[in-house]
Structures are given as structure tokens and as C-alpha cells.
């Protein structure tokens, strides 16, 4: 077992004239979680399909758990678990039947497989629904079963393609907790997501991809630093105070503030941290400018994403193109 559970070099995948992956490199250290973050159509699913032996790259090569995905596909398949984008549990089988079947296809005996299924159903709080046909499951239950299904054979490397897409916030949080326990056991995880908070919450490393290219990588802190530091944000109670307040903020930070009249907000970068907020508060009070909100804003991964790609991740145009690409993928 190498230090890197997943190693990919210059993966290229084209679908006709569309380049889904334009030569990406990936390294996932053993026992860590890496999130591949990107909008629809960025190439996330394509990358996962190549690494899980479902699709062949046009160029480049990759190893998973030390085995070449192209020439040693079977060895790779023995060691991985894949939760595809849409939960792929069999709708006509019960939860238990699904898990037992997958266990048997992972070359377990029927008895061992049944035992493992019972274990997993309990662990994922599905025991009550175990003997019901999964077409009647809720979205969250189906995802949990799908995740349980990937763990049947205790994989070394787990691939989760947008594990929480389409889940309501509560089901999402529940799934995160489940993922935490997996990570604690030392399973290597590669997950893809469109949600920045999810990447930040779950992953050690984040790889941002857009249009088949890696555009940034690092942990959440490093990525945020790429966008710059903290910002002081003031929201004045009365739009008429904007010019006065802007002068004060400019004086405190020494930078040119960005003013948004619609939200009555003034934002300016600062390197002084909380001290800038304290000074600004004192000066605004002295000038008798009523303020609704005064805060030190740290850049979110959304800011990172917007800065790096120069586009919003869910703009309508972008999404349409993306859906078309994902569909052709």
C-alpha cells in the first residue's frame, strides 16, 4: 500500500468535441479525505468514473490502492466502494436483500454477507426498514443504504460522488455524521461536492476543479488565504450616512471600501483583524452614525470559488451547459 491511496497523473477524457477532463493530477494520501469541489459539469463525475474503473481515460494514468485502474481493474474493484451520484440501490429489493446481494458479489459467503448486512443496517439506523422494498424509502434513507452498500466489503478507498446532493438539510447533517465515523476508521475517501461548506466540513484537502482543470488545491485555510484576508463590513442603519461611514472605514483600514447602496453595506480589506473592527466601532460611535451591523468577515469558500472561476457556481446559464455536459458524460 503506497502513501497515496489514489494517484492520478494527467487524466484526460474527451467526449467528442467536449473535453471533460483536461489533464488533471490527483493525490490522496492514505487515510485522508479529499474533496473535489466544482460546479456541475466541471468533470467531477468523469474523474470518479475513471478512478473506479467505470470509464477509461484517453490519456494519463492512475492507481488506486496501488493498482493501475486500467490494467488491474479487478484488483482495484476488490478494494474500493463507490456511491454514485444517484443512489443506485435496487428499487425492487429490500434494504437487506440489496446488501446481501452486494456482499455475495464481493465474494462473501451468503452467511457472512447476511451477517454483514445486519451489522450495517443497524449502524445506519435502517433496521426498521430493512425488510421493506427500497422504492418506498425516503431520499435520506436511500442515501444511507447506498453508503452502507459501499461499505459491505470494508473498502480501503471510498468514492462518494455528490453524497448529499438532493438531501434536505437535516438528512445532509445526518449523513455528515456518518461520514465522520468512516473517516475516523481510517478509510481513505474521495468525495465530490458542489457544496463548499461540505468540503470544508469533511475534507482534509480540497481540490477545486472547473471545466476539467484543477484551478486550486489546498486545505480550506490555504484556499481562503488565496482570496485575501479579512474584511471589515459595516451596515449603516440609514443610507444617508453611507458617505460619512465610508470615509471612516477608509480611514481605519487605509483601503478603498466597496459600497453597496442596496444593502447599505461598506466593505474594506484589513490586515489588522479585530482591532480594525474595534477602532471602526469607536469612530462610528463618536461620529454618531447608527449602525445595524459591524463585523469582521472572513472569506468563505464561496468567495474562493467566485474569485477563482470568475463565475457563480449556480448561475442559470452555467448550470444548463453543465447539465448537458454531465448528461453526455
Amino acid at each position: 500500500m503506497p502513501n497515496h491511496a489514489i494517484e492520478a497523473r494527467h487524466l484526460v477524457k474527451r467526449y467528442g468535441p467536449t473535453t471533460a477532463l483536461g489533464g488533471i493530477d490527483l493525490d490522496v494520501p492514505t487515510g485522508t479525505v479529499t474533496a473535489v469541489l466544482g460546479p456541475n459539469g466541471a468533470g467531477k463525475t468523469t474523474a470518479v468514473r475513471i478512478l473506479t474503473t467505470l470509464s477509461e481515460a484517453d490519456e494519463g494514468q492512475a492507481t488506486v490502492a496501488g493498482f493501475d485502474v486500467r490494467t488491474q481493474a479487478r484488483e482495484v474493484r476488490r478494494r474500493i466502494g463507490l456511491a454514485a451520484q444517484d443512489a443506485t440501490v435496487d428499487p425492487l429489493l429490500t434494504g437487506r436483500e440489496n446488501l446481501v446481494m452486494l456482499g455475495e458479489l464481493h465474494q462473501m459467503s451468503r452467511k457472512e454477507s447476511a451477517g454483514r448486512a445486519t451489522e450495517l443496517l443497524a449502524e445506519f439506523s435502517l433496521d426498521d426498514a430493512a425488510d421493506r422494498v427500497t422504492s418506498g424509502y425516503s431520499g435520506g434513507m436511500r442515501r444511507r443504504l447506498d453508503l452502507a452498500a459501499t461499505l459491505v466489503a470494508r473498502p480501503e478507498v471510498l468514492f462518494l460522488d455528490e453524497p448529499t446532493t438532493g438531501l434536505d438539510p437535516r438528512a445532509r447533517r445526518e449523513l455528515w455524521t456518518v461520514l465522520d465515523t468512516l473517516v475516523d476508521r481510517g478509510t481513505t475517501v474521495l468525495l465530490t461536492t458542489q457544496y463548499l461548506d461540505e468540503a470544508e466540513r469533511l475534507a482534509d484537502d480540497i481540490i477545486v476543479i472547473d471545466q476539467g482543470q484543477v484551478i486550486a488545491r489546498g486545505n480550506a485555510r490555504q484556499l481562503k488565504r488565496q482570496v485575501g484576508g479579512d474584511h471589515v463590513q459595516v451596515i449603516v442603519a440609514d443610507a444617508g450616512d453611507l458617505p460619512r461611514a465610508t470615509r471612516i472605514v477608509a480611514g481605519v483600514t487605509g483601503a478603498e471600501p466597496v459600497v453597496d447602496a442596496a444593502t447599505r453595506s461598506i466593505t474594506a480589506p484589513t490586515s489588522q483583524g479585530v482591532a480594525a473592527v474595534v477602532t471602526a466601532a469607536a469612530e462610528l460611535a463618536a461620529a454618531q452614525v447608527p449602525v445595524d451591523d459591524l463585523s469582521l468577515r472572513q472569506p468563505t469558500l464561496d468567495d474562493v470559488f467566485l474569485t477563482l472561476t470568475g463565475s457563480t457556481c449556480d448561475g442559470p446559464d452555467n448550470a444548463d451547459v453543465a447539465i448537458a455536459q454531465e448528461a453526455s458524460a
Binding site: L54, I80, A84, L105
Partner: protein, 297 residues
């Protein structure tokens, strides 16, 4: 890479030796392959459960043939005479058996299309299963599924006066021919299911192609009643010879051989077997290739 190196190195962080937590990657997760027959049977069992849970998917093998029996035996049957005499209802059953068997292709194609729609294909492909097990599983399940309509149609036939009249041995040969032809039709189904993208498309093509093929034949009426070109097509249609061969094996009434008959009509059993072999020889390799292409996008 040996199992030992795998065990020692899957521990992510070096530290004091502790018992592996449940669910941690372990060497025991690497099991030797149990072989293609095991994997095929596991996937075939899934197909049989599907059949049990979704009986409406079986309508082409249950309701539909019964409907045809009722329609032809009681609605049109009175107006149809079997050349050479004998009961039309007994003549009809051979055709119903043949039609049901031809529709085997539809069931296979439909389950393949559903698998692709539900992404079951991807799930299977990410598992360490033997090559060919998925298609093999579908084939085995379909073959077992054809036993149901064969039994059902036999019972239905008995109710309306159909009988096995030429001894058990011949009847067994007749049933084996049906099962053999069903096996051939499975590959037609795999080909269809791999080339057509959606379950809806499969249904459309099945009804657009399979119905004419089973109607321009001696399935419901003797070919001698058909006009010129249609009659020639029917005489060389393997559905005709399959129906005729089954009638012969069961000792049921059939159009008597005439001096001017083409070879197919004179030797229905041999001609049907030739088709069966041809279909398997041509369709199976094409089907496997089309299937592979349909799943590796």
C-alpha cells in the same frame, strides 16, 4: 502485492498497536473469486425477485398470451378452419407457445434497459465480479422466467381442450425446442436492450417488430390462407416452423404437408433448429459487443 503488506500498511497513522475498529479496512476483505457461476446465480436470483415483486412486467408472458388464447379460440376461431381438419383450438396452442417464446426477447431487453436507467450497471461494474456474470445472470433469470408462461399456457390449453396426443417423449422434445428457442431469443433481447436507450424505446420496438413477426406466420392461421408475398414470408418465417414443429410434437392438428411446400414447411423441426443455432451464432457475439459498448460510455 501480498496480503501481508496490505494489512500492515492500511493502518493510516502509525501509533500504539490497537485492535482494529469494526469496519476498518482489513485483509479479510480480500476474498478469492468464487467463480462465474456463483456470480451469475446471484444476479439471476435478483432477476427472479424482480419478477416476483413486479408481476405486471410479466404481462407479455402471462396476460397477453391468455388474451390471445381467448380472442382466437372464441372470437375469431369459429371462422378459421384447419386444412386437413381437427380442432382449431388445438391448432392455436402451438402458435401461442411460439409467440410467447418469441416475446422472451422483450422481457430481457426491458430488464437491461431498466438496469441502465437505474444505474445498476455501474454498480455491478464497480464490483469484483466475473466477466459475463451480469449478462449471464440476466440470461439465466430469463430462461427460468420462460418456464412460467410455458406452464401457464399448457394449463390454459388443457382448459380449452388442447391435449398432448402423441406421447410424452415427443411432448418433451417439443418443450425442449421451445426452451431452446427461448435461449436464442434472449440474445435478440440483449442486442435490442443494448442498442435502445430507454425502457420506453424497447417497448415501442418490441411491439413494432415482434408483433408483425409473430402475426405473419402460422401462429394463428394456416399460411395457405395468405396471399402471395405474405404467404412466402410466412412460410420461411421461423415462427411458422416453430409453431408447426410444436404442433407435430404434441400431435395436434396442423396443415398437412403438400407436394409444393417449401423446405421449411416440409421440415419444420430442422428449419427451426437451424434458425435457433443461427440466431445464437450471429446475435450472441453482436449482443455481447453491443452490451459492452452500452455500458462503457
Amino acid at each position: 502485492m501480498t496480503l501481508t503488506t496490505t494489512t500492515t500498511t492500511t493502518t493510516p497513522k502509525p501509533g500504539p498497536p490497537t485492535a482494529a475498529p469494526p469496519g476498518a479496512p482489513a485483509a479479510e476483505s480480500l476474498r478469492p473469486p468464487r467463480g462465474v457461476f456463483h456470480d451469475t446465480w446471484v444476479i439471476a436470483r435478483r432477476g427472479l425477485v424482480h419478477m416476483k415483486r413486479q408481476p405486471e412486467q410479466l404481462s407479455d408472458a402471462t396476460i397477453q398470451p391468455i388474451m390471445f388464447v381467448v380472442m382466437f379460440a372464441y372470437v375469431f376461431g369459429g371462422a378459421i378452419a384447419v386444412p386437413g381438419g381437427g380442432s382449431y383450438r388445438e391448432f392455436l396452442m402451438g402458435g401461442i407457445f411460439a409467440q410467447t417464446i418469441v416475446f422472451t426477447a422483450f422481457g430481457v431487453a426491458l430488464s437491461l434497459a431498466h438496469d441502465r436507467k437505474n444505474q445498476a450497471v455501474d454498480r455491478f461494474r464497480s464490483l469484483p465480479i466475473a466477466r459475463g456474470a451480469v449478462l449471464g445472470g440476466h440470461a439465466v433469470a430469463s430462461l427460468l422466467k420462460t418456464l412460467l408462461p410455458i406452464i401457464l399456457m399448457s394449463l390454459c390449453g388443457l382448459l380449452i381442450g388442447w391435449r398432448i396426443r402423441d406421447g410424452l417423449a415427443n411432448a418433451v422434445v417439443g418443450y425442449l425446442l421451445l426452451i431452446g428457442f427461448a435461449f436464442a431469443m434472449i440474445w435478440v433481447g440483449v442486442l435490442l436492450g443494448s442498442l435502445v436507450a430507454t425502457p420506453e424505446g424497447v417497448t415501442g420496438i418490441a411491439f413494432g417488430v415482434l408483433f408483425p413477426v409473430t402475426f405473419v406466420a402460422s401462429t394463428f392461421v394456416p399460411t395457405s390462407t395468405m396471399p402471395g408475398v405474405l404467404r412466402v414470408i410466412a412460410e420461411w418465417n421461423p415462427v411458422t416452423t416453430l409453431s408447426d414443429a410444436v404442433r407435430v410434437q404434441f400431435g395436434n392438428p396442423n396443415a398437412p404437408p403438400a407436394p409444393g411446400d417449401p423446405w421449411s414447411i416440409a421440415h419444420p423441426m430442422a428449419y427451426s433448429i437451424i434458425w435457433m443455432v443461427l440466431i445464437v451464432a450471429v446475435c450472441a457475439p453482436l449482443a455481447v459487443r453491443a452490451y459492452q459498448r452500452s455500458i462503457t460510455k
